[in-house]
Amino acid sequence: MKNTVGEFDSILSPLEQDVLTVIWPDKKLRVRQIYDKLKSKRKLALSSVAVILDRLHERSVVGRKMETGRGGVRYIYYPKSDKRNFEKSVVEDAVNKLIKHFGSTAVSYFNERFARRR
């Protein structure tokens, strides 16, 4: 499995892709740890990483739990699914949207398309 998510350009912002690239293999990370891993590659602020992680959490792409440590209370972020399952959920979401907006037109197109492939 590739550790890059460059192919999700239309679904994720570049920083979201970078954050996921870091979090997928390492599983559980704090904001500052993710920031430390990314700052060597690109110029960014800790607050930007925090905002991106919050956004990914709102979209249920990552989960988080509170942890109390020396520096106070922190979130530990972890991926909700691995890359493959994430891809699946993106495809499912896109298909659902197409069916919702175009109804039978979308469904008949899928049938045509699958028949062509067979």
């Binding site: 704090r30 800790l46 607050s47 925090a50 905002v51 509170m66 520096g71 106070g72 209370v73 922190r74």
Partner: protein
């Protein structure tokens, strides 16, 4: 007589409907505009308090002796509104804003009360006792105080270094100290006029109280450096 007016008001299906509809709209406004706090509180407030009270003020009869004694032109809608709206709004606002709003706020952010040695040390340093510390479960950097409670978000912890966190906590403890004085208590009565105004005080507005809380934090830390860098980081935080 006033009690009779209140009971006949609630006994009237029309007014009861107005009350139920406006409170439902208040609830919808509160739940719907999560992303726009100002619109959320404005409309929630308008529907929750203003509409029912205005309806009550207009509906209540002028025969109540104390009203007649107070102003002879009771029949003027504006006068009646002022007579009935202000005391009832004030009473409701005190109860809601002072007792209910903190609980609502804590629930909104799933606040957890934490016994934090560092916070307790700072509170002692600030000469305060009986203060409670709550952690708000949100990544947005927020900190505020209500009565003797100081609330700070996980996002604030994540964004700031230890000394900067202390500066923010001392700033909030400064607010707790201000509120304990009788003068500030009286001044904050004006804020109680609306429970929403109590919520709105969360905004970091440059006011006399904010400046006094800043001065307190700087005095306690012996330097303005940490508060300054904390504010700079917070100003950089964007949605």
């Amino acid at each position: 007589m006033l009690l009779e007016a209140v009971s006949s008001f609630f006994g009237n299906p029309l007014h009861l409907t107005v009350l139920i509809v406006s409170w439902t709209l208040a609830l919808i406004s509160f739940l719907h505009w999560r992303e726009h706090p100002e619109a959320r509180y404005l409309y929630a407030h308008l529907f929750f308090l203003f509409v029912p009270l205005l309806d009550f003020a207009v509906a209540v009869p002028c025969q109540i002796p104390f009203v007649q004694g107070l102003l002879t032109f009771c029949s003027v809608v504006v006068t009646r509104t002022i007579i009935f709206l202000i005391p009832v709004a004030l009473l409701l606002a005190v109860v809601l804003g002072y007792h209910v709003a903190p609980a609502v706020y804590r629930r909104m952010y799933s606040a957890k009360q934490v016994r934090d040695a560092r916070f307790e040390k700072l509170a002692r340093k600030a000469g305060l006792s009986g203060t409670r510390f709550w952690v708000l479960d949100t990544a947005k950097p927020i900190a505020f105080s209500i009565r003797k409670d100081v609330l700070m978000s996980v996002g604030m912890f994540e964004l700031l270094r230890r000394k900067e966190q202390d500066a923010v906590l001392l700033h909030e403890l400064g607010h707790v100290r201000q509120k304990s004085s009788l003068a500030k208590f009286s001044l904050s009565l004006a804020r109680w006029f609306s429970p929403v105004a109590h919520f709105a005080s969360v905004d970091t507005r440059i006011s006399a109280e904010e400046r006094a809380a800043d001065r307190f934090a700087i005095r306690m830390q012996g330097t303005a450096r940490h508060l300054k860098t904390a504010k700079h980081k917070l100003s950089q935080y964007s949605e």
